[in-house]
Structures are given as structure tokens and as C-alpha cells.
């Protein structure tokens, strides 16, 4: 994915992990960031965690995406003509 959505690690089994990505659970590999722990935030690309972000940065980024999503929903709402 081109967007850097922070995903929260919710379970780890060796180098396999489960993350919560915007409310959706996904199985990923943490081979490239083996230091990741439960509750850490990672950036996922094609099923691999490729980087980590701290909790504050993750919160800021998720807020940005929420703003983007809201902005888009607003754009797609039908215009009311008086």
C-alpha cells in the first residue's frame, strides 16, 4: 500500500504477527522488524512490517488519515440545491 497507515501489533508468534489496521485484523510477517512487540505500531507493505513508528507519531498519523477520510466523504456527499 502506498499509504503509511500505522497498524497496531496485537499478537506475535515468532516472526508472524497479527495487526489491527483501521479495525481490520491482518496476519503479517515481522521478519524485517523483529524487535516489534505487542502494542507497537508498524507500517505494513504487502504483508510485511517494514518499519516502526512510536505511539505519538502513530496517533498523529491516524488523525491525519481520519481527516483525509472525512474530507473525502464530504466531497462525495450530494450537493443540496436550494
Amino acid at each position: 500500500m502506498c499509504l503509511a497507515l500505522p497498524a497496531r501489533v496485537v499478537a506475535i508468534n515468532g516472526l508472524d504477527a497479527t495487526v489491527d489496521l483501521g479495525g481490520v485484523r491482518k496476519a503479517i510477517s515481522i521478519e524485517l522488524v523483529p524487535e516489534a512487540q505487542v502494542d507497537d505500531y508498524v507500517i505494513v507493505h504487502v504483508g510485511h512490517a517494514i518499519g516502526m513508528v512510536d505511539a505519538d507519531e502513530a496517533a498523529r498519523t491516524l488523525a491525519l488519515f481520519a481527516e483525509l477520510e472525512a474530507s473525502q466523504s464530504q466531497e462525495m456527499m450530494p450537493q443540496v440545491v436550494a
Binding site: C2, G22, R60, E69
Partner: protein, 366 residues
């Protein structure tokens, strides 16, 4: 898919059909990014664009800082990462693409996936580049050169057994097919060896970008679709005829570029330009500028308009994927010409043009 993930978008490729390509990236939809960025000042702009994108975060940060500095020449300039970091990040993006994207794009079997996964051990893969200086980046690239030599030597020793002398040899089953796919080549040639000519072209593109609200999602250059990638760099411009005509040559251009970067002479600390990967900015008028950066997937462009108080009024991002996955572009035309059940060729073309988002192929069973 969560609503947030849906912002990234998806492309659907339909071999042998018309239209052969559908989809877009909602995040780049007209007005979406400008609304988010409106009122931001330089540092906030760079931080936001760096936070939004995964693989090309470094390129967005560089291009945003360059655009801002050119648009606000009287303000304190924003720091721009050393050029050698662009080399490092580009090589890393290529290696990541080969190791992680090719297996899924090409639906490779376990043995082939294992061959490509050997690339994961390269010394750039896990390196954090945050705060990395020129010397540290240069050392990493030296380590890459040594690793590539060892990799090729070790692989060559066992090539007879596993056929892995390079990631390209892992794909040798695909080579004949990919060599037979020859999308018409129309290189995006905005960058030019002559600075004056380049400035004229960038001005012309900026005007076209502002004239059409959806330009960044359906770009054209002088009315025609064009493509961009490792094979369309400014440094390849003089090569005529182009060696990059088939899907195979477009795929292998990435591995060639990794070798070019690893083997290149070190860049002087404050080199004004990099002969391998061009980046820079052009002021267009009061508070306005366009900036560019040759990154792994091709040419990235940012345009900015800043008001007198130093806040963003308008912002456009024109990324490589929108050129390469244009519904009338070379990929779309090539897809339309293959049989509707030829999913393998469609996969090969998708990997050659390398979208930064998910691609789904809808073949028709005969």
C-alpha cells in the same frame, strides 16, 4: 478493506478488454490533499507528506522541502536530505520491490519466492535513515556494493542447483514471455540536460496541471500519455534507440539501477546535482514553485502556492503511478492487445509498470 485502507485505492487490470485498466488513488483525488495541507507552513507540510506515504516517504519529504524553499526564497530554508540518501533510499526501494512485491505481483511459487527473499538480507533493508548523514549513507552504499559482490559470487557458485545468480535469474521462466511484450515507449521527458529547456517544460506542465482539476489523476504531457520509471531517467535520455522496450527490460531496469548506485563514485558532500538521480526545484512566480525528484518508481513532482503570510494556499502531487497506470497509457494499450485469458502476461506487465498500490487482474476464462 477498512475505509482508511480504501483511501490507498486499487487498480483492476482486464487483459484483452476495453477499457483494460480501471481504478485510481482516492488520496490524490482533486482537492483532497490541498484541503489537508491548506494553511500549513514549511515544516508541517514536509512532516505531513512524509507521514502519509509508505515507500516513497523520503522522496515526498525531499520534494516538498525543495518546492517550499523555491517558493519562499526569503524564509529560512528547510533542511533537505543529502543527495546520497536519495541514492540509498532508491536502491532500497528497488530491492524491497524485488523481494516483497514481485512474488505477489507475479504469483511466484515457493521456490522462486525463496530465491527473491535472499535479497532481504541486503544491508539497506533494515537500516533506519532517520537522521542519517552523508558519511553514514555512503558507508551503507559501500556495504551494499560488497554485499552485492558476495551475493552474486555465492549465487553463481550454486546457480546450477537453484538458478539464483541474480533476482533476474530467479525470473528466468518469465524472460521469454516478458521479452515478447513490447508496450509502445513514450518516455516522460520533462527533465532535460539543458536547464533553460527544462525550465520551459516544467512551466508548461505546471500550467497544464492547474488548468485541469483531475490532472494529477490523469496526467498527460503535451496531450499524450507518457511513462516514467528507472528506465526513463534523465541519464538515459541520450540512449537512442532505447534499450528499454520490452516488459523484461523495464523489469530488469530496477536491478541495473541498484548496481549503478552501488558501483557509482561517491557524491561530493554538497554536489549541486547527482548524475544518477536528478532532483531540484524551479520558482514559478511569487510564492509558487514546482519541484521534482527521480525516485524508484519514476519522476515525482510537487507544485505549491504559498500566500504572503507563509501558509499553503494550494498543493498538487503528481506521482509516477498516475502516469504509468493511465487508462490510455502504454500499459493499458498493451493489456488490451493480449488475449483475455492471458493472466500471466497481464501479471508480467503489472510488475513491469509497478504500481504503488494493489493491482487485481480480471482475466476471462475461455
Amino acid at each position: 478493506m477498512s475505509p482508511l485502507a480504501a483511501l490507498a485505492g486499487q487498480y483492476v487490470l482486464r487483459p484483452g478488454q476495453n477499457p483494460s485498466l480501471a481504478g485510481h488513488r482516492p488520496v490524490l483525488q482533486a482537492g483532497t490533499l490541498p484541503r489537508l495541507l491548506r494553511g500549513q507552513t514549511g515544516a508541517g507540510l514536509v512532516r505531513i507528506l512524509g507521514s502519509l506515504f509508505t515507500l516513497c516517504s523520503h522522496a515526498h519529504q525531499r520534494t516538498a522541502a525543495l518546492a517550499w524553499n523555491a517558493a519562499c526564497p526569503l524564509a529560512d530554508p528547510l533542511p533537505v536530505a543529502p543527495r546520497v540518501l536519495l541514492r540509498l533510499e532508491t536502491a532500497r526501494d528497488h530491492l524491497r520491490s524485488m523481494a516483497l512485491d514481485w512474488p505477489s505481483r507475479l504469483a511466484l511459487d515457493a521456490q522462486h519466492v525463496q530465491g527473491l527473499r535472499l535479497l532481504v538480507a541486503n544491508p539497506l533493508m533494515s537500516a533506519s535513515t532517520t537522521g542519517m548523514n552523508s558519511e553514514q549513507a555512503a558507508l551503507r552504499l559501500t556495504a551494499l556494493r560488497v554485499w552485492l559482490n558476495d551475493f552474486e559470487q555465492a549465487s553463481a557458485d550454486t546457480a546450477a542447483a537453484v538458478g539464483q545468480a541474480s533476482p533476474l535469474q530467479v525470473l528466468q521462466d518469465w524472460q521469454a514471455l516478458a521479452n515478447g511484450l513490447n508496450p509502445a515507449l513514450n518516455r516522460l521527458d520533462l527533465l532535460h540536460p539543458d536547464a533553460h529547456e527544462q525550465a520551459l517544460r516544467l512551466c508548461e506542465l505546471a500550467q497544464a496541471m492547474l488548468a485541469e482539476p483531475d490532472f494529477v489523476q490523469r496526467p498527460n504531457w503535451r496531450g499524450e500519455c507518457a511513462e516514467t520509471g528507472a528506465w526513463t531517467r534523465l541519464r538515459h535520455r541520450q540512449q537512442s534507440p532505447s534499450p528499454f522496450l520490452s516488459a523484461w527490460s523495464r523489469l530488469s531496469a530496477r536491478w541495473s539501477e541498484v548496481q549503478d548506485i552501488a558501483g557509482a563514485e561517491p557524491l561530493p558532500q554538497n554536489a549541486p546535482q547527482d548524475p544518477l538521480l536528478s532532483s531540484g526545484a524551479l520558482a514559478l512566480g511569487e510564492g509558487s514553485a514546482i519541484a521534482w525528484c527521480e525516485m524508484a518508481r519514476g519522476l515525482l513532482l510537487h507544485w505549491v502556492q504559498v500566500d504572503a503570510r507563509g501558509g499553503v494556499v494550494d498543493y498538487r502531487v503528481l506521482a509516477p503511478t498516475e502516469w504509468n497506470f493511465h487508462p490510455q497509457g502504454a500499459l493499458a494499450q498493451s493489456l488490451a492487445e493480449i488475449p483475455s485469458d492471458d493472466v500471466r502476461s497481464a501479471r508480467c506487465l503489472a510488475a513491469a509498470f509497478d504500481a504503488c498500490v494493489d493491482c487485481r487482474i480480471e482475466g476471462v476464462t475461455p
